[in-house]
């Protein structure tokens, strides 16, 4: 059940906070772990959803928000394009299941990105379908912002090659 995952994630973050003193180290560690998970998660995602190849960045962003997030976390963030060039998107989450049991960040951990794992996962998954991207948190509810916003910036043009999964 999802609770198990959320609780485990919480215990993991707590352990990492104990191991590393600096917030940036914890953030990096979470990102790296997320990346490793993302490169495997994409296989599972494609197998379960059998979606066709996305033909544009905005289709990809929609796919992540509407299909992947829904499948794994049960929420559907809204997508908005934030650049004229069409390669920057933000996913806005009103409800973030990962922080269900978290009330607030402790005072000495003010710059901890609690959900940094998500960024790594998205980055890793995109890289496995040959889309390089930078993923970061633009706003975080735990830090006092109104919503949680994840920004995805696609770095290169998607390569033109068949990537069909049966």
């Amino acid at each position: 059940s999802r609770e198990l995952f959320v609780l485990t994630y919480g215990a993991l973050v707590a352990q990492l906070c104990k191991d590393y003193e600096k917030d940036e180290d914890v953030n990096t560690c979470l990102d790296r772990m997320g990346y490793a998970i993302g490169i495997r998660l994409i296989d599972d995602f494609l197998a379960r959803s059998s979606v066709k190849r996305c033909r544009s960045y905005s289709e990809t962003a929609d796919m992540i928000a509407q299909v992947a997030f829904k499948m794994y976390l049960g929420v559907t963030p809204s997508v908005s394009c934030s650049s004229a060039a069409g390669n920057e998107f933000s996913l806005i989450l009103d409800k973030n299941p990962l922080v269900d049991f978290v009330e607030e960040l402790p005072a000495e951990r003010a710059s901890l990105c609690y959900c940094n794992l998500l960024c790594g996962v998205i980055r890793g998954a995109l890289e496995m379908v040959h889309l390089a991207a930078e993923v970061t948190f633009l706003q975080d509810r735990l830090k006092g912002d109104a919503v949680t916003e994840i920004g995805i910036t696609f770095l290169r043009k998607a390569e033109d090659r068949k990537h069909r999964r049966n």
Binding site: R2, E3, L4, F5, L7, Y9, A11, A36, I37, Y72
Partner: protein, 150 residues
């Protein structure tokens, strides 16, 4: 269910990440297992609270163990424990013939020595659950042939 994949991946990543960190610098293997176990402990405590919110009081230890084998295990691993044995003096052996966290590894002697790492979290999970139900315990695991474990 998609949730399971997430948890399996996160768990294997946790194990790998902790051991990677240990290799690079401080800490021996023993400490990694302790960390995993204590993480499992916290998660177990939280989980058992949520599961037993609405259930009736447990009659005795055996009842609690049966709960762990049936409901708790089903919620966490989507199956029940295959075999529960006891000597009625405080020692219980739970046997799972197809342990979810080990099914991804090849069945054979090759990875037998790495298997305990994957069991540490679950041991903590059980210990945490029991402790919140008022039982102090020591939980150990043994793997003799994948993917079964006790």
């Amino acid at each position: 269910m998609a949730d399971e994949t997430l948890f399996l991946l996160l768990h294997s990543e946790m194990v790998a990440g902790l051991y990677r960190a240990a290799e690079q610098g401080e800490g021996e293997n023993g400490r990694c297992t302790t960390k995993l176990e204590s993480m499992g402990f916290r998660v177990g405590q939280g989980l058992i609270e949520r599961f037993t919110k609405d259930t009736a009081r447990f009659k005795d230890e055996l009842d609690i163990m049966k709960f762990i084998c049936k409901d708790f295990w089903t919620t966490v691993f989507k199956k029940q424990i295959d075999n529960l044995r006891t000597n009625h003096q405080g020692i219980y052996v739970l046997q799972d013939n197809k342990f979810r966290l080990l099914t991804q590894m090849s069945a054979g002697k090759q990875y037998l020595e790495h298997a305990p790492k994957f069991l540490a979290f679950t041991c903590g999970l059980i210990r945490g659950g029991l402790s919140n139900l008022g039982i102090k315990s020591i939980v150990t695991a043994e793997v003799s042939s994948m993917p079964a474990c006790k």
